[in-house]
Amino acid sequence: MRKYWGDRITGGICICLSIYFGWLALEFPAGGGTFPFFAAGGTIFLSLILIAISFISKKPDLRETIKFNFSYSSMKPVTLCILVALHMWSMFEIGYFTSCALFLFIATIMVGIRNYRAILTTAIILFPSMYAFFVLFLKARLPRGILF
């Protein structure tokens, strides 16, 4: 797929979403829909320009082919997002220290780091320092769970 198709699809999605949110704004009372209408109108206008440019522009970069890459390396951010979501849930179940340490070990190993000493040193120095700074110095609260 060439890049100009990316612009056309992006523009199309923006227009559809703007129409949907503009339609929802019809129900807002007391002028509550005015500003969303303004934003929707602006988005539709700019999306149409984006689509038009994809047809008339002669820029060579628009003719480049988009290469979809589903290799393990390129999917790392997706896997990391899932890990973060699990971390955000688990820190309230098993506690700040355990959850952060587990996340750091799994995430760094998953992205390809094999220097276990560096990971361990980082965990030993960083997490107690963060705890001391937030809880003892700033008097903020950190998540607690069944462990620590």
Binding site: A39, L80, C81, L138
Partner: protein, 505 residues
């Protein structure tokens, strides 16, 4: 007389907690700025949860110190390994690295230190003298001006997205949409909340900033080879201040760089990334026989380093005065200002002079401090560039999560940060502008209130009403000019390609 107005607040800047905040901000800024791939907006975003428990002036001193030092820190990796720590140092990498290859790394660092420290100081002084009189203009603002100034801010920040202004503007409009999520304060009707209670109070700025700038950066760093380190430069001399003869050799380049930085800083959204290329182009234009531009010319480095720190103070002028940030870092600082309950404009100078003037003094002191702290951190900063990105990425993710929770103790905010982080990552990958979205989110309520009040006072004829008000007409002209300058091709883009597609100053 303004100078006398600001003077009593100098003492405040020397309080224990303000000095601590300044030193912390400078240290973090230097370290994060020096690591290629990390940038000042991300450093500032990560500092916001820490600043949450501090008084507003201390919090803002922490952030502006981090900003100034971050820009300077970026020069270290640019000079030592042609890997600019920030996009505001991209032009410095050209001459700086060539000097390093010729065994003149320490000379390059010395000039960079002098140019950055003095440039930041001059910029801070200009901020002090320029902001208060300009803030009086905001007293003349009515609904139409508030609406148009928000649109001008969005238009200006869109130009930061090099080569894709339309995407930058679309990003801003997305931010405007997101700003409407909440219970409507006029009617009490929930807008776009889809029955989720956590959305009824709206999207907080803090999780949005951390998600868009820190979390997204953490995800980006996890790509590619995780063991990547930049180079083996580990040794730096402790002496990073130049001799008088070295300064005199490049004096006019320094002056030109500082002046360009000061002027570009005041222009909304232009920032250090633009200033450095203009300063560099100006030096090349003035080149004399014997100058070695492209092969390690100190004049080129002096101009680029002077300009990118010359920008720092003046880029805060439109932010403090009108709420239009002078760059992406200033946009993040604007978010922090609002988190601490402060509104830009004359009210800030009238109701909270102790806050604003203490911040300005803190900024000046931070610029002096960064030159001295850098003496002690220089070696560490050289080592930091050897840190593998595979560890830095997950650490940023952890800090984003813990920072947001510690700041608000609200689980909804964690998920909002996560959502903005994913959105920010997708935006980076598709050449949209996370800064535009953030600014839309910040300026959305100002623009909406302005538009609704404008429709009331103009009896439904906003266009004819706007055309009768000179400031509104001026702002309209500003919007058109901002669009014109962002759409026309920039001469330095060819050089910048591959180094700074999306400026992150």
């Amino acid at each position: 007389m303004f100078g006398l107005e600001a003077l009593p607040y100098l003492v405040n800047a020397f309080s224990g907690q303000n000095i601590f905040a300044m030193l912390l901000g400078v240290t973090v800024g230097l370290v994060i700025g020096a690591i290629p791939g990390l940038n000042p907006p991300m450093a500032i975003a990560l500092m916001i949860p820490l600043s949450f428990q501090m008084p507003p002036e201390t919090a803002l001193i922490l952030l502006v110190s981090c900003f100034a030092a971050g820009i300077y820190g970026g020069s270290f990796s640019a000079i030592l390994m042609r890997a600019p720590g920030t996009s505001a140092s991209a032009a410095s990498a050209i001459e700086g690295y060539e000097l390093t290859k010729r065994g003149k790394a320490i000379e390059a660092i010395r000039i960079s230190t002098f140019a950055s420290v003095v440039g930041g100081l001059i910029s801070g002084i200009v901020l002090m003298f320029l902001a208060p009189p300009l803030a009086r203009i905001s007293l003349l603002f009515g609904p139409s001006e508030y609406f148009l100034v928000a649109i001008l801010g969005l238009t200006a920040i869109a130009s930061v997205t090099f080569g894709s202004v339309i995407r930058g503007l679309l990003s801003g409009l997305l931010g405007l949409f997101l700003s409407t999520i909440a219970i409507d304060q006029y009617s009490g009707f929930p807008r776009y909340t889809f029955g989720i209670i956590g959305l009824e109070s709206g999207l907080d700025i803090m999780p949005a900033i951390i998600g868009l700038f820190a979390f997204a950066q953490g995800l980006e760093l996890s790509e590619g080879d995780p063991t990547t380190t930049i180079s083996g430069v580990k040794k730096l001399s402790w002496n990073i201040w130049p001799k008088l003869s070295e300064i005199l050799h490049v004096k006019w380049s320094l002056v030109r760089g500082w002046i360009i930085g000061l002027i570009i800083g005041v222009i909304p959204a232009a920032g250090g990334s633009v200033a450095q290329w203009i300063a560099y182009a100006e030096e090349i234009r003035r080149a004399k026989p014997g100058d070695q531009f492209g092969k390690g010319e100190l004049k080129g480095l002096a101009a680029t380093e002077g300009s990118n720190n010359g920008v720092t103070g003046t880029s805060l002028v439109p932010m403090f005065v009108l709420g239009i940030p002078g760059g992406i870092s200033a946009a993040v600082i604007l978010g922090a200002l609002m988190i601490h309950g402060l509104q830009p404009g004359m009210r800030l100078f009238k109701n909270s002079p102790h806050v604003i003037y203490t911040i300005m003094w803190g900024f000046l002191l931070a610029n002096i401090a960064m030159g001295f702290i850098a003496i002690f951190l220089a070696r560490t900063m050289a080592y930091l560039t050897l840190f593998p990105r595979g560890i830095i990425g997950p650490l940023i993710l952890i800090f984003s999560v813990i920072g947001v929770y510690a700041g608000s103790n609200n689980i909804y905010d964690l998920w909002i940060m996560f959502g903005f982080g994913v959105l920010g990552y997708i935006m980076i990958k598709t050449n949209f502008s996370p800064a535009g979205t953030l600014l839309g989110l910040i300026l959305g309520p100002i623009a909406e209130n302005g538009l609704r009040d404008l429709l009331v006072v103009s009896h439904g004829s906003p266009i004819s009403f706007v055309l009768t008000r000179p400031i509104s007409v001026g702002l309209l002209v500003g919007i058109i000019l901002a669009l014109y300058f962002s759409l026309r091709p920039k001469p330095w883009e060819g050089e910048a390609e591959g180094k700074s597609q999306s400026p992150k100053n």
